[in-house]
């Protein structure tokens, strides 16, 4: 094998930045390549595809993506993405960020963007903790799980992200794990082509922090766990999509509906005036 090998995905990544910063056994690289595969298969014009993130380990994904990419601040990826999309509706805007970024500091932005049905795609990598800052508990950390800020076990109830997304108004809601590479790629492709606010949660291993402190083994062990404990239940009520500490992981596509987006609902000024109703 020669020294100048070109991986087929190198055209979609900023290959001069490889290797990336993620740990051995982290699922982010796998999730990332699933996204790239989906984007390639979708047939979308890559010059019109945009990726936005907040911070954290997942937040580094845009920096490695060879399309228009924006690495913003803590929790603010969604409003930034919303600005991009509304100002130029030709763009396909995807937010790729972590559970802490999107649902703790950015939780308010998430529910409101979903409520407005802004046509953006959210991919949330859920690794059950704040990875980059060293493994603190977050809004998705299961009860009793140990993190650096829950040394006696987490005593806060976690969010069920798919239920939250569906209740907030997302038109497409799915959950997969890092092992479901083909289903995940297919799902991301569907979301990219879907009009409206879409949400995909990816359960992903964090061997260095979450996995290590909870004795889940290394990244490979977590991936094996997903393979053995995931159960696909398409179309079920997201409320019942369980995700417990040591139990089964319900995955699948839970919501796929159509409704007018924020831009669809803009006033048609040829028909309307504030003073005189049409």
């Amino acid at each position: 094998m020669s020294m100048n090998e070109i991986h087929p995905m190198d055209k979609l990544i900023r290959a001069d930045r490889m290797p990336h910063i993620w740990c051995s056994g982290c699922g982010l690289g796998t999730n990332f390549i699933c996204y790239l595969t989906a984007m390639e298969k979708s047939g979308l014009d890559l010059n019109k595809c945009v990726i936005v993130s907040g911070i954290g380990c997942t937040g580094r994904i845009p920096g490695y993506t060879n399309i228009d990419s924006f690495h913003t601040t803590h929790g603010r990826a969604i409003p930034f993405a919303l600005g991009l999309k509304l100002a130029n509706p030709e763009l396909t805007v995807t937010v790729f960020s972590g559970d802490g970024d999107l649902f703790a500091i950015g939780g308010n932005h998430f529910i409101h963007a979903a409520r407005r049905n802004v046509d953006i795609n959210i991919i949330c990598v859920n690794n059950f903790n704040y990875g980059m800052t060293g493994g603190q508990f977050g809004p998705t950390t299961p009860l009793d799980a140990k993190t650096t800020t829950s040394p006696y076990g987490n005593y806060e109830h976690p969010f069920n992200l798919v239920d939250l997304a569906a209740a907030s108004g997302a038109v497409y809601v799915a959950r997969w794990t890092s092992i479901h590479v083909r289903r995940l790629s297919k799902s991301i492709e569907e979301a990219l082509l879907k009009k409206g606010f879409t949400f995909i949660e990816i359960i992903s291993p964090c061997p260095t922090n979450y996995g290590r402190r909870n004795k889940l083994g290394d990244g490979l062990d977590e991936m094996k766990y997903y393979r053995e404990h995931s159960i696909i239940k398409h179309g079920i009520n997201p409320k019942e999509a369980d995700l417990s500490f040591n139990g089964e992981i319900v995955v699948g596509k839970f919501v796929d509906i159509d409704k007018p987006t924020f831009l669809d609902n803009q006033p048609d000024m040829s028909q309307m005036s504030v003073n005189n109703k049409k």
């Binding site: 228009d68 913003t72 930034f80 600005g83 991009l84 100002a87 308010n108 409101h112």
Partner: protein
């Protein structure tokens, strides 16, 4: 189609400062407004909600001010001129991503119709207490541009000026107005579209593999590629190199932050604007900005009637601070009086820049504007 109105409402109007600000933005091409209602800036949002659909732009009422600030950064990256407007409490929230705008070098305009603080403070009464926050409110080292209008007409004119400066120097520009100017209703003349000077951001050459996101020209400002144009934009709030890649080292930090500051400091002569009245032979000068500049002008005129050699130096650009102008004035006069609707913020800058060459007197007031007679009283005292 008869409901579609022009963006530039050429003619004479009787409107308040907030409305004039909104019209100024529309007149210079702003087509994206994201805001969160807050007294006394709400009228800007209300005006925008009515006018944006008329001109084919987007108005969005966000969930909070952090979101508003981010949304306008995103919209600007999509190539659309964007603006938000707020007051004290919202300004505090916007400071977070004002910093992101500085770091990513995003042209946009942030309007602060100042009210009394701290905290929720005096929602319906005037303040100029955010002047230092405007300078230092976000963390880290950076330089800002802040303009201070004194009338509804200037709300219109300076909003356009703010957009032009933001596009030219690639940063969020602050329009630091106050409740009195925002709510004051006066004659506003909107010129014809062809007479409005508009500056648009520099665009890069056609994309090649050698294209660098943050390679600055001689003026220290890098040309800006928008999203969707095929440039493979890469930008981050992290310290970055010319490629736009995160660079976690001291050399990159030194190089980037120095350039971000220098692009303002080395272009100060182009950015700074002040206005002088009756200063040629003045022995006492009132340095004022925003609504107190109106009282100050009256006070100076009253003093002149009484034979006192008083003058007014009005700061149109408060940041970057016109330090050379202040030193020039300090060398000529005996006393500088600085009336402000705060406990004395800009007066510290005046003191710093006058190097003890003259006497500097702070004239603080809270919750209300100084009357001309209050300023006149001090002018008379120091003239003895």
């Amino acid at each position: 189609m008869n409901n579609i109105k022009p963006a530039v409402l050429t003619g004479e109007h009787f409107m308040n400062g907030d409305y004039a600000c909104a019209e100024g933005a529309l007149a210079c091409g702003c087509r994206f407004f994201a805001g969160y209602p807050i007294t006394p800036a709400t009228e800007i949002s209300e005006k925008m909600s009515r006018r944006m659909p008329e001109v084919g732009g987007i108005f969005i009422q966000m969930e909070d001010e952090m979101a508003s600030m981010n949304a306008i950064l995103g919209a600007s990256w999509a190539g659309v001129k964007s603006m938000t407007a707020t007051s004290g409490p919202g300004f505090s929230l916007m400071m977070e991503n004002f910093g992101l705008g500085i770091m990513m070098e995003v042209p946009c305009v942030l309007v602060n119709i100042q009210r009394g603080g701290p905290s929720t403070g005096l929602p319906t009464l005037v303040g100029q207490q955010d002047m230092m926050q405007a300078r230092w409110g976000s963390h880290g080292d950076y330089e800002v541009i802040a303009l201070t209008p004194s009338s509804p007409q200037e709300m219109f004119d300076f909003t356009i000026k703010a957009f032009n400066l933001s596009e030219k120097y690639r940063l969020p520009v602050l329009l630091m107005s106050d409740e009195i100017v925002g709510h004051m209703t006066e004659k506003v003349v909107i010129p014809e579209e062809k007479d409005i000077k508009i500056v648009n951001r520099k665009k890069p050459e056609k994309y090649t593999d050698k294209y660098l996101m943050y390679k600055a020209d001689k003026d220290l400002v890098p040309p800006m590629a928008n999203a969707g144009e095929g440039y493979k934009v890469i930008t981050t709030g992290l310290t970055h190199d010319e490629k736009g890649y995160p660079a976690m080292n001291a050399e990159a930090q030194e190089k980037l932050i120095k350039r971000l500051c220098d692009k303002i400091l080395k272009n100060k002569a182009d950015i700074i604007e002040t206005q002088e009245q009756e200063t040629e032979d003045a022995e006492i000068i009132v340095v004022a900005y925003g609504s107190p500049a109106r009282s100050a002008l009256s006070a100076v005129k009253l003093a002149r009637k009484e034979g006192i050699k008083a003058g007014l130096l009005r700061l149109i650009t408060v940041w970057p601070f016109p330090d050379e102008k202040i030193l020039e004035v300090a060398n000529k006069v005996k006393t500088i009086i600085v009336p402000e609707i705060n406990r004395g913020q800009i007066v510290r800058e005046v003191e710093r820049c006058s190097y003890g060459k003259c006497n500097v007197i702070s004239l603080p007031k809270l919750g209300n504007i100084h009357t001309p007679y209050e300023i006149l009283k001090v002018i008379k005292e120091v003239s003895l």
